[in-house]
Protein backbone atom coordinates (compact mmCIF):
# COMPACT_ATOMS: atom_id res chain seq x y z
CA UNK A 1 0.00 0.00 0.00
CA UNK A 2 1.45 3.42 -0.89
CA UNK A 3 2.31 5.90 1.84
CA UNK A 4 1.17 9.01 0.01
CA UNK A 5 -2.13 9.74 -1.66
CA UNK A 6 -3.46 12.39 -4.00
CA UNK A 7 -7.15 12.70 -3.18
CA UNK A 8 -9.64 13.48 -5.90
CA UNK A 9 -12.51 15.82 -5.04
CA UNK A 10 -15.14 13.13 -4.59
CA UNK A 11 -12.86 11.21 -2.21
CA UNK A 12 -12.10 14.35 -0.20
CA UNK A 13 -15.80 15.13 0.01
CA UNK A 14 -16.55 11.58 1.18
CA UNK A 15 -13.88 11.81 3.87
CA UNK A 16 -15.02 15.20 5.13
CA UNK A 17 -18.68 14.11 5.20
CA UNK A 18 -17.51 11.23 7.40
CA UNK A 19 -20.31 8.89 6.41
CA UNK A 20 -20.18 5.18 5.61
CA UNK A 21 -18.47 5.62 2.22
CA UNK A 22 -15.80 7.90 3.65
CA UNK A 23 -15.14 5.56 6.55
CA UNK A 24 -14.86 2.63 4.16
CA UNK A 25 -12.26 4.51 2.08
CA UNK A 26 -10.31 5.37 5.19
CA UNK A 27 -10.29 1.78 6.35
CA UNK A 28 -9.59 0.20 2.96
CA UNK A 29 -6.58 2.42 2.23
CA UNK A 30 -5.50 2.67 5.88
CA UNK A 31 -5.44 6.46 5.59
CA UNK A 32 -5.41 7.32 9.29
CA UNK A 33 -1.60 7.26 9.77
CA UNK A 34 -0.94 9.27 6.59
CA UNK A 35 -3.77 11.81 6.69
CA UNK A 36 -1.42 14.73 7.33
CA UNK A 37 0.53 13.87 4.19
CA UNK A 38 -2.40 13.47 1.81
CA UNK A 39 -2.30 15.82 -1.14
CA UNK A 40 -5.01 17.54 -3.13
CA UNK A 41 -4.61 19.26 -6.48
CA UNK A 42 -5.33 22.92 -7.15
CA UNK A 43 -8.29 21.74 -9.22
CA UNK A 44 -9.78 20.17 -6.10
CA UNK A 45 -9.15 23.38 -4.15
CA UNK A 46 -11.04 25.29 -6.84
CA UNK A 47 -13.87 22.78 -6.92
CA UNK A 48 -14.27 22.91 -3.15
CA UNK A 49 -14.32 26.71 -3.18
CA UNK A 50 -16.95 26.68 -5.92
CA UNK A 51 -19.03 24.19 -3.95
CA UNK A 52 -18.72 26.29 -0.80
CA UNK A 53 -20.09 29.29 -2.71
CA UNK A 54 -22.88 27.24 -4.30
CA UNK A 55 -23.87 25.91 -0.89
CA UNK A 56 -23.74 29.50 0.44
CA UNK A 57 -21.59 28.50 3.42
CA UNK A 58 -20.11 31.97 3.63
CA UNK A 59 -23.49 33.59 4.23
CA UNK A 60 -24.28 31.60 7.39
Amino acid sequence: MPNNFLLDTNILVALVRGKLFGKAIQKHFNLQPVLSRCLISVVTVGEMEKSARDFAWNTA
Binding site: N4, V16, L35, C38, K50, S51, W57
Partner: protein
Protein backbone atom coordinates in the same frame (compact mmCIF):
# COMPACT_ATOMS: atom_id res chain seq x y z
CA UNK B 1 42.33 47.05 -21.37
CA UNK B 2 41.07 49.22 -18.53
CA UNK B 3 38.71 52.16 -18.98
CA UNK B 4 36.92 54.45 -16.58
CA UNK B 5 33.12 54.62 -16.30
CA UNK B 6 33.17 57.94 -18.16
CA UNK B 7 35.24 56.47 -20.97
CA UNK B 8 32.95 53.47 -21.17
CA UNK B 9 29.95 55.80 -21.48
CA UNK B 10 31.59 57.88 -24.18
CA UNK B 11 33.18 55.11 -26.24
CA UNK B 12 30.93 52.10 -25.70
CA UNK B 13 30.45 51.19 -29.41
CA UNK B 14 34.23 51.21 -30.00
CA UNK B 15 34.82 49.22 -26.82
CA UNK B 16 32.29 46.62 -27.91
CA UNK B 17 34.11 46.22 -31.20
CA UNK B 18 37.38 45.75 -29.38
CA UNK B 19 35.76 43.25 -27.06
CA UNK B 20 34.44 41.26 -30.03
CA UNK B 21 37.96 41.25 -31.41
CA UNK B 22 39.09 39.46 -28.26
CA UNK B 23 40.10 42.36 -26.03
CA UNK B 24 39.15 42.08 -22.35
CA UNK B 25 37.75 45.34 -21.09
CA UNK B 26 37.58 46.14 -17.41
CA UNK B 27 35.65 49.21 -16.26
CA UNK B 28 37.00 51.05 -13.23
CA UNK B 29 35.74 53.71 -10.86
CA UNK B 30 38.26 55.54 -8.71
CA UNK B 31 40.89 53.21 -10.13
CA UNK B 32 39.10 50.10 -8.82
CA UNK B 33 37.60 47.51 -11.19
CA UNK B 34 33.79 47.43 -10.91
CA UNK B 35 32.67 45.71 -14.11
CA UNK B 36 33.87 43.82 -17.11
CA UNK B 37 32.61 43.55 -20.67
CA UNK B 38 32.23 39.93 -21.70
CA UNK B 39 31.22 38.67 -25.13
CA UNK B 40 27.77 37.16 -25.10
CA UNK B 41 27.30 33.44 -25.77
CA UNK B 42 25.66 32.45 -29.03
CA UNK B 43 22.07 33.47 -29.75
CA UNK B 44 20.96 29.87 -29.14
CA UNK B 45 21.97 30.35 -25.51
CA UNK B 46 19.52 33.19 -25.05
CA UNK B 47 16.80 31.48 -27.09
CA UNK B 48 17.01 28.52 -24.76
CA UNK B 49 16.92 30.62 -21.62
CA UNK B 50 13.62 32.10 -22.73
CA UNK B 51 11.94 28.72 -22.20
CA UNK B 52 10.89 29.13 -18.60
CA UNK B 53 9.85 25.52 -18.01
CA UNK B 54 13.13 24.24 -19.32
CA UNK B 55 14.93 26.78 -17.19
CA UNK B 56 13.23 25.52 -14.06
CA UNK B 57 14.01 21.88 -14.59
CA UNK B 58 17.43 22.22 -16.27
CA UNK B 59 18.65 25.80 -16.04
CA UNK B 60 21.05 27.27 -18.56
CA UNK B 61 24.45 27.73 -17.02
CA UNK B 62 27.82 29.23 -17.72
CA UNK B 63 30.47 27.62 -15.56
CA UNK B 64 34.25 27.59 -15.43
CA UNK B 65 36.33 24.59 -14.43
CA UNK B 66 39.02 22.20 -15.52
CA UNK B 67 38.45 19.46 -18.02
CA UNK B 68 39.69 16.32 -16.29
CA UNK B 69 38.61 13.51 -18.54
CA UNK B 70 37.25 13.41 -22.06
CA UNK B 71 36.04 10.31 -23.81
CA UNK B 72 33.99 10.82 -26.96
CA UNK B 73 31.26 13.17 -25.78
CA UNK B 74 31.50 12.32 -22.09
CA UNK B 75 33.71 14.33 -19.79
CA UNK B 76 34.55 15.05 -16.17
CA UNK B 77 34.72 18.62 -15.01
CA UNK B 78 36.43 19.93 -11.89
CA UNK B 79 34.88 23.02 -10.38
CA UNK B 80 36.59 25.78 -8.44
CA UNK B 81 35.64 24.20 -5.09
CA UNK B 82 37.35 20.94 -6.08
CA UNK B 83 34.18 18.97 -6.70
CA UNK B 84 33.84 16.96 -9.88
CA UNK B 85 30.81 16.75 -12.14
CA UNK B 86 30.14 14.38 -15.01
CA UNK B 87 29.11 15.93 -18.26
CA UNK B 88 28.09 15.35 -21.82
CA UNK B 89 28.94 17.42 -24.88
CA UNK B 90 25.58 17.54 -26.63
CA UNK B 91 26.65 19.91 -29.39
CA UNK B 92 30.00 20.83 -30.88
CA UNK B 93 33.09 19.01 -32.06
CA UNK B 94 34.30 16.46 -29.48
CA UNK B 95 37.83 16.48 -30.96
CA UNK B 96 38.10 20.26 -30.48
CA UNK B 97 36.72 19.84 -27.00
CA UNK B 98 39.26 17.10 -26.18
CA UNK B 99 42.12 19.48 -27.04
CA UNK B 100 41.21 21.46 -23.93
CA UNK B 101 41.96 18.48 -21.68
CA UNK B 102 43.56 19.61 -18.43
CA UNK B 103 42.88 23.26 -19.15
CA UNK B 104 40.53 25.82 -17.70
CA UNK B 105 37.35 25.85 -19.74
CA UNK B 106 34.13 27.81 -19.69
CA UNK B 107 31.10 25.67 -20.53
CA UNK B 108 27.72 26.86 -21.70
CA UNK B 109 24.76 24.55 -21.50
CA UNK B 110 22.41 23.01 -18.98
CA UNK B 111 22.80 21.76 -15.46
CA UNK B 112 20.61 18.73 -14.87
CA UNK B 113 19.67 18.37 -11.22
CA UNK B 114 18.21 15.44 -9.32
CA UNK B 115 14.92 16.00 -7.47
CA UNK B 116 16.99 16.17 -4.29
CA UNK B 117 18.73 19.29 -5.63
CA UNK B 118 22.06 17.54 -6.27
CA UNK B 119 23.73 17.99 -9.63
CA UNK B 120 23.37 14.98 -11.93
CA UNK B 121 25.34 16.10 -14.97
CA UNK B 122 26.26 19.01 -17.18
CA UNK B 123 25.09 19.12 -20.78
CA UNK B 124 27.44 21.41 -22.68
CA UNK B 125 26.57 22.83 -26.06
CA UNK B 126 29.29 25.47 -26.29
CA UNK B 127 32.70 25.99 -24.74
CA UNK B 128 35.78 28.18 -24.80
CA UNK B 129 39.16 28.47 -23.10
CA UNK B 130 38.88 30.16 -19.72
CA UNK B 131 40.68 33.36 -18.79
CA UNK B 132 41.58 34.51 -15.24
CA UNK B 133 38.58 36.80 -15.33
CA UNK B 134 36.27 33.80 -15.68
CA UNK B 135 36.82 32.91 -12.02
CA UNK B 136 33.48 34.60 -11.51
CA UNK B 137 31.83 31.60 -13.18
CA UNK B 138 33.61 29.10 -10.96
CA UNK B 139 30.52 27.96 -9.09
CA UNK B 140 27.47 26.10 -10.30
CA UNK B 141 24.13 27.78 -9.74
CA UNK B 142 21.92 26.07 -7.19
CA UNK B 143 19.07 23.87 -8.31
CA UNK B 144 15.74 25.59 -8.75
CA UNK B 145 14.01 22.32 -7.93
CA UNK B 146 12.43 22.43 -4.50
CA UNK B 147 12.81 19.00 -2.90
CA UNK B 148 9.46 17.54 -1.94
CA UNK B 149 9.54 15.95 1.45
CA UNK B 150 6.02 15.00 2.41
CA UNK B 151 7.10 13.91 5.88
CA UNK B 152 8.41 17.41 6.53
CA UNK B 153 5.37 19.10 5.00
CA UNK B 154 3.07 16.88 7.08
CA UNK B 155 4.87 17.81 10.29
CA UNK B 156 4.28 21.53 9.71
CA UNK B 157 0.88 21.26 8.09
CA UNK B 158 -1.58 22.97 10.40
CA UNK B 159 -4.54 22.30 8.13
CA UNK B 160 -4.51 18.59 8.85
CA UNK B 161 -7.05 16.48 7.08
CA UNK B 162 -7.85 14.56 10.27
CA UNK B 163 -9.13 17.81 11.77
CA UNK B 164 -11.89 18.15 9.17
CA UNK B 165 -12.89 14.53 8.62
CA UNK B 166 -16.51 14.09 9.58
CA UNK B 167 -16.97 17.85 10.00
CA UNK B 168 -18.87 18.77 6.87
CA UNK B 169 -19.89 22.38 7.55
CA UNK B 170 -23.24 22.36 5.76
CA UNK B 171 -26.52 20.47 5.97
CA UNK B 172 -26.59 19.28 2.36
CA UNK B 173 -27.96 15.84 1.64
CA UNK B 174 -25.92 13.16 -0.14
CA UNK B 175 -28.02 13.79 -3.26
CA UNK B 176 -27.31 17.53 -3.23
CA UNK B 177 -23.59 16.92 -2.82
CA UNK B 178 -23.59 14.28 -5.56
CA UNK B 179 -25.39 16.72 -7.87
CA UNK B 180 -22.87 19.47 -7.06
CA UNK B 181 -19.99 17.10 -7.91
CA UNK B 182 -21.72 16.14 -11.14
CA UNK B 183 -21.98 19.80 -12.12
CA UNK B 184 -18.28 20.28 -11.46
CA UNK B 185 -17.14 17.36 -13.61
Amino acid sequence: MTVTVEEAQNYLPALLEQMNAGEQIVITRHERPIAMLIASPSSEFWDATSHTEELQSSPRICVMGTLLKVKDQAFSFKLKDGSEVEGLLVQGDPSEFAKLFGQGVVLYGKAVFLPTGRILRLEADDFRTATPNDEFFGRLPKSTVVPTNLEEIGRHNLLRLENVIGKWPGDETDEQVAEALRRLS
